[in-house]
């Protein structure tokens, strides 16, 4: 199936859900039908099949396609089992809009077109109603667009090797600013709706953006691949250490969740920086676990975060174990692959990573308690997220195969 359909169907779903907002049931039905059709189009679009029906060559690379499928699945789970106080049609509207943009970014032929689509997503997300001021919501992702544009402009010029290193710095800084990881953490308001908050950048749009930018960076950083990898690893380690400690020590539980996303991104950045297939595989597994584990769990914990309800039941410890990346959950094979890649590249890095993995424990125990005592739909949702994490933890190979690894 053509990638054009994979972009157009969720976009049409988002448009229908927006246009039919006064009639929520109809908005939901039309959005869901078009969204499911979009997911089918992504699944059926053969990886690396190019299409130029619109006069532009579109291709869905295997890794981007795999992450898109995971993002679609995450949206489907959240819409089927919505968190308390969340409207299904609203979740669907925002989710399908993001999904259409993400698919377009993944299929874009060059980084220039990708950044223009990112720019549109930045403007659309900032146009929603949020508690933070418009300028605060807009500034960091817009800075990412500027930095990525600067990288593209510099890559189009000729010059000394220093110029390529400048391209590397702009690319990595742009990616960090878009995701909202250190050193460009977006301002966060715990009471803001998730769609308008920085969480979609960290946990929904971010994974696809990172996979596509890192995948396309190769041709732009030719001759400075080592610097690109080293910068990603350095940034990843800083994010791991700072965010795991912050997730443990910060006073707000919602902030702790936000830092836990950043800590996971540290692992993913290290994996991308290690370049070898095991490292990239580890990064993809971390992104799967963000999309299908941490994001749904965060959304289902928001009600108990508001009520400041904390419990020490077995379910809380199981969630804590999943968030900490212990066996048999999805984070465990990711960490093993990361250690193997680091050992192959430079063994002291593996030592540093192994020690840093311990830093996940206190923060994860804290986050596990914030789930509270889930009941009804929330309990089913938590069980589904944990089951998916266990399946990914026990059988990671099919997932890596889906991504072409």
């Amino acid at each position: 199936m053509e990638p054009e359909l994979a972009v157009a169907l969720p976009a049409a779903g988002a448009a229908c859900a927006t246009a039919l907002r006064p009639r929520p049931k109809l908005a939901f039905a039309s959005g869901a039908a078009l969204g499911v059709a979009g997911l089918v189009a992504v699944i059926l679009s053969r990886a690396d099949l190019t299409s130029d029906q619109l006069g532009i060559t579109l291709t869905l690379p295997p890794a981007s396609r795999a992450i898109l499928i995971a993002a679609s699945a995450a949206l489907a789970i959240l819409v089927a089992l919505p968190p308390p106080r969340a409207e299904r049609s609203t979740l669907l509207r925002w989710g399908l809009g993001g999904l259409a943009g993400m698919t377009a970014m993944a299929a874009a032929p060059t980084l220039g077109i990708l950044v223009m689509i990112l720019l549109l997503l930045v403007v659309l997300q900032a146009s929603g109603a949020g508690r933070r001021g418009y300028a605060i919501r807009f500034r960091a992702p817009a800075l990412a667009v500027c930095l990525l544009a600067l990288a593209i402009a510099l890559a189009a010029m000729q010059g000394p090797p220093l110029l390529t290193r400048l391209v590397v710095v702009c690319l990595v800084a742009g990616l960090a600013a878009a995701l909202g990881v250190l050193p460009y953490i977006h301002e966060f308001d715990p009471d803001e709706s998730t769609a308008a908050s920085p969480i979609p950048w960290l946990a929904f749009v971010g994974p696809v953006l990172a996979v596509v930018v890192v995948g396309r960076a190769g041709e732009m950083v030719a001759g400075a691949e080592d610097a690109f990898g080293a910068l990603l690893i350095g940034l990843g380690l800083i994010n791991i250490v700072v965010a795991t400690i912050a997730s443990w020590r910060t006073s707000s539980d919602a902030e702790a969740w936000r830092y836990s996303f950043i800590a996971d991104w540290g692992l993913a950045l290290c994996g991308f920086g290690l370049v070898v297939p095991d490292g990239v595989g580890a990064a993809l597994l971390v992104l799967y676990s963000i999309l299908l584990g941490r994001l749904p769990l965060y959304l289902w914990s928001r009600q108990s975060l508001r009520e400041k309800a904390q419990t020490d039941r077995p379910i809380n410890f199981i969630v804590a174990a999943a968030l900490a990346g212990s066996a048999p959950f999805a984070g465990f094979p990711a960490r093993i692959l990361l250690l193997r890649a680091a050992t192959a590249m430079y063994w002291p890095l593996a030592l540093v990573l192994a020690l840093s993995f311990l830093l996940w424990l206190p923060g994860s125990l804290r986050l596990g308690r914030t789930i509270g005592a889930p009941t009804g739909r929330q309990l089913i949702g938590v069980a589904v997220a944990l089951a998916i994490s266990v399946v990914f933890g026990l059988f990671p190979r099919p997932l890596l195969g889906l991504a072409g690894l």
């Binding site: 500027c146 709706s193 009600q303």
Partner: protein, 177 residues
């Protein structure tokens, strides 16, 4: 021709940096669009130049109708911004002429100057109309640097017009997750 276009691009970006209201912002965006179109034309992309100019002019016309009233050029307290337009342009000029090389010096100067000035404006601004105009200018530059032929020019034109049509949202307390 590209050298003149580079100067015009700086002028347009400087006006966006120095303006706080819709008329000044619209004028700056129109001048940046003119410069971007001239650079595209000089690269043999006549069709792309026309599309880019059309998108820029449409964006400028939309900006002329949306945002705080007046020109708002160089209002009290804008001295740091005035200095930034000069220092930023000098740094971009140095990088474009002394550090980089390639077929068109004007293209390099224009792209770097507009990106540096509008990036700085984005970091400093608080008014939605200003931020949207700055990012629309960045989209115009993306159109000429991304190198996908007419597709990138057309997309840049669409993005510029679309971004300029966005109304500034009111900040309110939302309900639900």
């Amino acid at each position: 021709m590209t050298e003149v276009a580079a100067f015009v691009a700086w002028l347009g970006a400087a006006v966006i940096v120095l303006a706080d209201s819709r008329r000044g912002l619209a004028a700056g965006l129109a001048v940046v669009a003119l410069a971007a179109a001239a650079i595209a034309w000089s690269q043999g992309e006549e069709g792309g130049a026309i599309v880019l100019l059309a998108g820029g002019v449409l964006g400028s016309a939309l900006r002329f109708t949306i945002g705080p009233d007046g020109w708002g050029l160089m209002q009290p307290g804008s001295t740091p911004r005035l200095l930034f337009t000069i220092v930023g342009a000098l740094v971009a000029l140095w990088v474009a002429l002394a550090v980089t090389s390639g077929p068109s010096a004007g293209f390099r100067v224009a792209a770097l100057t507009v990106l540096v000035l509008l990036g700085g404006r984005l970091l400093e601004a608080a008014e939605p109309a200003v931020m949207l105009t700055a990012i629309a200018g960045v989209a115009l530059v993306l159109g000429i640097v991304s190198g996908d032929g007419i597709v990138s020019y057309a997309l840049a034109a669409l993005v510029t017009a679309g971004v300029s049509a966005m109304p500034a949202p009111a900040t309110r307390r939302p309900r639900g997750t």
